[in-house]
């Protein structure tokens, strides 16, 4: 299959990356080349094969459900581009 400009625009939108309209055709061609490379996977017989979930057979350990950390508001906000009154600040979301 081939990727058209509309698809490229949709992917960029889903990925929340602004792509200028004039760059879309080139982007579509790049995606197309990469996807053609990936298409080789269709040759493989995967009938009855389980998709890998964990590369090392191990059981995920559960820790005790206890509070062991917290009260770090200052550290959490330390690197925020815009923090006000103990919160992260963003443009207005709800009109």
């Amino acid at each position: 299959m081939s990727i058209d400009t509309d698809t490229a625009r949709r992917i960029a939108r889903l990925a929340r990356i602004r792509v200028e309209e004039e760059r879309l055709p080139a982007l579509a061609r790049e995606f197309d080349a990469i996807l053609r490379f990936i298409e080789q996977l269709r040759e493989v017989d995967v009938e009855g094969v389980e998709p890998m979930t964990s590369v090392t057979p191990m059981r995920l350990r559960l820790r005790p459900d206890e509070v062991t950390d917290g009260d770090r508001q200052a550290e959490v906000l330390l690197n925020a581009p815009d923090a006000r009154e103990g919160f992260f600040a963003v443009p207005k979301v709800v009109e």
Partner: protein, 495 residues
């Protein structure tokens, strides 16, 4: 007096313990070397004050006669590791100004062992690249050049700064990370040793995530003994990483006997690629002969799904990256784009990510988004995960048949000129990882060992792939290969 920066990690350790040299003296020698090496673009955030304080503290421990292996050893740390109060930005504009208020598990362990941090090392942005050219800092440069040709070469990637720094003697050793070959390929390009451990051997906590099911940190060092020492210090269980194995870490250095008699080494026929340069073919044959001379038994093996490893990787890694990199939204840390009046939160996300991520990162995030999107998830992502199961099964089969380790080339070529990657299309660039990526998909340990020089005088490496959790055995094989190869060449200083 000998040049202190010429000592291996093990030699420096022994001389520090013998009070032959002091930790501050060793650190000063490296700081001076770094100051004179800006042309290599290896160190992107230097931390001389921290290094001096750590060296003083290390000397006190050495004076008290209680010093772990790394006490007083100056190291370089890849920019992907979060280091408290020190810029940690994964070579991305989007993490500009980010200073973590915490320390990654690996670097915390190194600090606790008394290691000295000289600074942060260059890399491809978010570890996505094979030439260190996607870095927001500009490329790192290989200390090696072709004979009679001053054209700058890539040190490889993504751990290009780590490789350049170790090869040029700017640090005793460095940390790297490897998602598809990012430790082993740069190690091969710069004539050093690089080890990617078994998935789960080293904690990923505090390391900026690229593809969580493939990422693994490991040592980049001047020789195999140093890799054994540094791996032991980096590895071990971590309650903060649930994928980090609860397994004791052996004393890898103590296991370096060089005795490999009777070990069965697999030589996979699928790694004999069409169009492989004759020099790589010859090096591989040479490596087989060297191991055979030491008493190992060569066996031809088949890993039938090898050719599907790269396509599977270029589904799985971008898929995981698109999810991991969703956190860079301009809200909680890093860069936020300047907004126009009336811009809402979606414009903030889109503009921030457009100006914060470089072209290769954007490309992979979008490919990942596509393969995970409704209607394509099964066709791409699930199929790739099934192929991954088959790739791991290939290895399990040969290991079950008595193969102890596998010998392959580390890279399809020697280091190439900077700028060549830009000219090539992305898919061609991906072929750099053809010999290394299977190891990440199967979660196995792999090590790159410098074995020879090509006709232009550039280093070439071979890769040994081990059984899961058997880094000790793998290091001992690498030790024998290193000894047989006797690779002593060093780059001629031009920087």
């Amino acid at each position: 007096m000998t040049d202190l920066t010429a000592l291996t990690l093990a030699e420096a350790r022994d001389r520090l313990r013998a009070r032959d040299i002091s930790a501050p003296e060793l650190t000063e020698a490296y700081l001076a070397a770094i100051e004179g090496a800006d042309a290599l673009g290896a160190f992107v955030h230097k931390t001389p004050d921290l290094a001096r304080r750590q060296a003083e503290a290390a000397q006190k421990r050495l004076d008290a006669g209680m010093s772990p292996d790394l006490c007083g050893i100056p190291l370089g740390i890849k920019d992907l590791f979060c280091t408290e109060g020190v810029p940690s930005q994964a070579a991305s504009r989007i993490l500009e100004g980010f200073r973590p208020p915490y320390e990654s598990t690996v670097t915390a362990q190194l600090r606790k062992a008394g290691a000295v941090m000289l600074g942060k090392l260059n890399m491809d942005e978010f570890a996505m690249g094979s030439s260190n050219e996607t870095s927001c800092y500009g490329p790192a440069v290989n200390p090696w050049r072709r004979r009679d040709d001053p054209a700058p070469l890539t040190p490889g990637g993504s751990s290009g700064g780590s490789a350049a720094a170790v090869a040029a003697g700017l640090c005793a050793a460095a940390t790297g990370t490897d998602t598809g070959g990012s430790i082993r390929q740069p190690a091969a390009f710069t004539g050093i040793v690089g080890l990617k451990p078994t998935y789960g051997r080293v904690s990923r906590w505090g390391i900026v995530a690229f593809a969580s099911s493939l990422d693994q940190a490991g040592p980049m060092t001047r020789d195999v003994r140093d890799a054994a020492i540094l791996l032991r210090a980096m590895a071990g269980p971590d309650p903060r990483d649930s994928t980090c194995a609860d397994r004791p870490v052996p004393d890898y250095e103590a296991g370096l006997s060089g005795d490999i008699r009777g070990k069965v080494i697999g030589v996979p026929r699928e790694y004999r690629m069409e169009g492989m340069p004759p020099e790589i073919e010859a090096l591989w044959a040479e490596g087989r002969r060297m191991l055979e001379d030491r008493g190992a038994v060569m066996r031809d093996i088949s890993l039938p799904h090898t050719r599907y490893a790269l396509p599977a990787y270029y589904v799985i890694a971008p898929a995981e990256a698109s999810s991991n990199l969703a956190r860079y939204d301009g809200v909680r840390f890093g860069r936020r784009a300047a907004l126009s009046p009336g811009d809402g939160i979606v414009e903030m996300y889109e503009k921030t990510r457009a100006e914060g991520f470089g072209a290769e990162v954007q490309r992979r995030v979008m490919i990942g988004t596509y393969v995970l999107s409704a209607g394509f998830y099964d066709a791409y992502y699930n199929r790739a995960r099934k192929v991954r199961t088959l790739i791991r099964r290939d290895f399990e089969t040969v290991f079950a048949e008595g193969v102890d380790a596998i010998l392959t080339p580390a890279t399809p070529s020697a280091a190439f000129p900077l700028g060549a990657a830009e000219a090539a299309d992305p898919v061609k660039m991906y072929l750099n990882d053809v010999f290394t990526v299977t190891v990440n998909l199967a979660g196995l340990p792999g090590i790159s060992v410098p074995v020879g020089l090509d006709r232009d005088g550039l280093p070439l490496g071979l890769q040994l792939i081990g059984r899961p959790w058997e880094e000790g055995d793998l290091l001992n094989l690498a030790y024998a290969l290193e000894d047989a190869a006797g690779f002593l060449a060093r780059p001629t200083r031009w920087w």
